[in-house]
């Protein structure tokens, strides 16, 4: 019995040691790459870079604003750090990540979606694992501890045991690790300024019945974002990207500077679905955004 327990413990510790080493290597490779947005944010720009404008949000922020067009129209560097399959808490995390690298921006654009207008769910978003290489940063630790779910909380546990997170998200991380080890500059579906686009051929044919919502944007995370931008001398702009179906009307009590383009585009061929514009829609949305921004300057 004693021999069994000793041998089992020996092999278990050996296994944990190997798993620890391999996952550290994997996460280090990803940390040095540009594969996912959090690593791209760190490695694609010079330390302490001054941005004219930086966009944060979900796939809607990603699909609607073209920072190349913005950079052409406005002087200065603009980049899109929005990440698909995420919610407002992730946008705040990315913003913390942005400031933590010593970057500064004149304008911080937070793209807000309908589900996040007044509250946000306290659940982990699908692509939050992409912050795993930065799991030891205090803001990432706090985020994972607050939002991660389950008995083990694999992302939160990754601070001490990185193989929990790496193992849980293995199918999402193995391929990128392999690619990043060969080609560290490879970016996953976005350009050198973080832009992604849906091609025009995905445009829809039918227009749905419209829906109407009223809000004062009372989500407390927006308040936290506002405080963060004030501390870092940035001007906060809340951006509501175009919807095919939904109209969002802002109440007067809304305390933020908002560019509300929820009803900017009505034709279905500019949308790949009810919430994402295709490339031609993106151009319209970005031009309108630039016009509004010029008024704010």
């Amino acid at each position: 019995m004693k021999k069994f327990v000793i041998k089992s413990t020996f092999y278990l510790l050996g296994l944990l040691f190997l798993a620890y080493g391999l996952s550290l290597m994997g996460l280090y490779t990803l940390k040095r790459s540009q594969f996912f947005k959090p690593s791209f944010l760190v490695n694609a720009f010079k330390p302490g870079e001054q941005f004219k404008l930086a966009v944060f949000g979900s796939s809607r922020g990603l699909a609607s604003l073209d920072t190349k067009l913005i950079a052409d129209e406005l002087e200065g560097l603009s980049a899109n750090f929005s990440m698909d399959y995420t919610a407002l808490p992730t946008a705040k995390l990315m913003l913390e990540h942005f400031y933590a690298q010593g970057y500064r921006a004149e304008f911080i654009v937070i793209s807000v979606d309908l589900p996040d207008r007044d509250t946000s769910k306290t659940v982990i978003s699908e692509n939050d694992y992409r912050f795993l290489p930065f799991r030891n940063e205090s803001y990432v630790q706090n985020y994972y501890s607050r939002y991660d779910e389950g008995l083990v909380k694999p992302l939160a546990a990754s601070g001490s045991f990185p193989f929990f997170g790496f193992g849980y998200y293995n199918m999402e991380l193995l391929g990128p690790t392999l690619i990043s080890s060969i080609k560290p500059d490879y970016r996953y579906q976005f350009d050198e300024l973080g832009n992604f686009e849906y091609p025009d051929y995905l445009g829809m044919d039918e227009k749905p019945e419209p829906r109407n919502f009223q809000t004062a944007l009372t989500n407390p995370i927006l308040k936290e974002i506002q405080e963060l931008t004030i501390r870092n001398s940035s001007k906060l702009i809340i951006y509501i990207a175009p919807y095919l179906r939904d109209e969002i009307n802002l109440l007067e009590s809304c305390p933020y500077t908002v560019i509300n383009h929820s009803r900017l585009i009505n034709k279905p061929n500019y949308f790949s679905d009810y919430i994402h514009v295709v490339n031609s829609g993106k151009k319209i949305a970005t031009k309108a955004f630039i016009e509004e921004l010029k008024k704010l300057e």
Partner: protein, 471 residues
């Protein structure tokens, strides 16, 4: 509680430590096992603990009754009572809705319309397994092949033994019950072989079955949009999923039992290396097929008659076996397909001397058998008979344009992982079969690699229950 869960990872070391701490107190060990087994089972739904206790007590007292009388009428009455009670419970929980609907449908054929009423019945996990296990005890006592036990603690432990409680192997009292009577000493070699089997079983479940499940579920849900290649791969992946899932469970169950000093019967012997369907059924879910052989096929007359008589009995066994899996016509179709494929080999006794041929002669036969098995699995996996036929129709017509696997990088990676590790699994099995072994027991250094592959390739995010729990 699932074997591949955190709860079980906490439960097992505690029970293991407590159990061997009292290795000089046999009765205490039995109590620990019984309480652990009831906790393990009650973790799903504590209300069903009463059911398993009821089933156990019925057969325990019927066994005592059978031991006290030689009167054939009274013995038949007691056997009948056990059958009514056990099959009644099984019938109510598993087959009530099926028979109600079939009854109403039959009336509608004669122009009469009856209202279909379904009961919202939750199927108790593993009911088909422990019901068959207790029944086998009563059959054996009835046939006087087994002395009825008077040790209620041992009997309750035998019925509810947690490693094999919910998905087998379906043990015979003649093999397992006796092991509960005798004190156990910790056996290092047995425990180590148990750990090896557990790691191998976990690998098959978490790396192969659960990853394959991600692809299979989507392909079967959206089969109408898929092209032939995607549908063929869907059926092959399901074959790998169900094997990894079920044989993985069995390996873990046998391995766990060895850690507690028990020996369970083999349930799988490398079935995808079978060279015909007859050979396949000597390797797949052995505990169930031998149960049907001993308690249904032989009492029906077995092969003691004309060929037509034997073939009839074979077909009955396959249909009953299909129906055992679930109250659905597609399971019956699955059983019928296997029965029809089995009969020609059964008549020709073609399974004999297959293993003396060279590997290259075996390979086409293995491939052909695997293809037939994959085809039949479509009926097993589909939600209905109609869907299964439609799925096969779409393979033939190639109407769909989509290919779920190759349309996204992540899915292609999952497919590559399943394909690579499945080939590794089958290759390892072929290696052990060549060495005339019936189980895979890898040396420690390979186990370490296997455990690493579980961590880095396992589908933890797609945490699936075991398929056979629903039966």
């Amino acid at each position: 509680m699932l074997f591949n869960s955190i709860e079980f990872a906490i439960f097992l070391p505690i029970v293991f430590a407590l159990y061997w701490l009292f290795n000089k107190y046999h009765r205490v060990q039995l109590w620990i096992l019984l309480l652990a087994s009831y906790l393990f089972y009650g973790w799903w739904d504590w209300r069903f603990l009463g059911l398993i206790a009821l089933s156990s007590f019925i057969d325990f007292f019927i066994g005592i009754g059978l031991g006290q009388t030689d009167d054939p009428k009274r013995r038949k009455l007691l056997l009948g009572a056990s059958l009514v009670a056990n099959l009644g419970l099984l019938g109510f929980f598993k087959y009530f809705n099926f028979f109600t609907e079939a009854f109403v449908d039959a009336f509608s054929l004669f122009g009469m319309s009856l209202e279909k009423s379904r009961l919202d019945i939750i199927l108790p996990v593993g009911i088909s397994f422990y019901t068959f296990q207790t029944l086998s005890y009563t059959f054996d006592v009835y046939k006087k092949q087994l002395t009825p036990t008077k040790d209620v603690l041992a009997f309750l432990g035998f019925v509810s033994f947690f490693p094999q409680l919910v998905a087998g192997p379906i043990e015979r009292a003649s093999h397992l019950l006796g092991q509960f009577y005798t004190p156990r000493k910790f056996n290092y070699s047995l425990a180590v072989s148990g750990v090896r089997l557990i790691v191998w079983g976990l690998f098959k479940k978490v790396v192969i079955a659960d990853n394959a499940a991600i692809l299979v579920d989507e392909i079967f849900t959206n089969y109408q949009d898929q092209n032939s290649l995607s549908l063929i791969l869907g059926s092959v992946l399901f074959a790998l999923q169900i094997y990894g899932d079920f044989s993985g469970y069995s390996d873990i169950a046998i391995g766990l039992s060895r850690m507690f000093g028990f020996d369970l019967m083999m349930n799988f012997r490398f079935p995808y290396l079978a060279q015909n369907i007859n050979d396949f059924w000597k390797r797949w879910h052995i505990s169930l097929s031998t149960w049907f052989r001993d308690y249904v096929y032989i009492p029906l007359g077995g092969s003691r008659g004309s060929i037509a008589f034997s073939v009839r009995n074979v077909m009955i066994i396959f249909l009953v076996s299909g129906f055992w899996h679930g109250a659905n016509w597609n399971f019956l179709a699955w059983g019928a397909i296997h029965g029809l494929m089995y009969v020609p080999f059964f008549i020709n006794k073609a399974h004999q001397n297959l293993h003396q041929d060279s590997f290259w002669l075996k390979l086409p036969r293995i491939f052909l058998t695997f293809s037939v098995v994959c085809l039949a699995w479509v009926f097993f996996r589909a939600d209905s008979l109609g869907q299964a036929l439609d799925y096969l129709g779409h393979i033939w017509s190639n109407e769909g344009a989509g290919n779920f696997i190759f349309s996204q990088t992540k899915r292609t990676i999952i497919f590559a992982v399943v394909a690579f590790f499945s080939l590794f699994m089958l290759g390892t099995e072929a290696f052990f079969e060549n060495k005339q072994k019936s189980e895979v027991l890898l040396p420690s250094k390979y186990l370490l690699i296997l455990a690493l592959s579980i961590i880095f390739f396992g589908a933890f995010k797609n945490h699936e229950s075991f398929i056979y729990f629903q039966f």
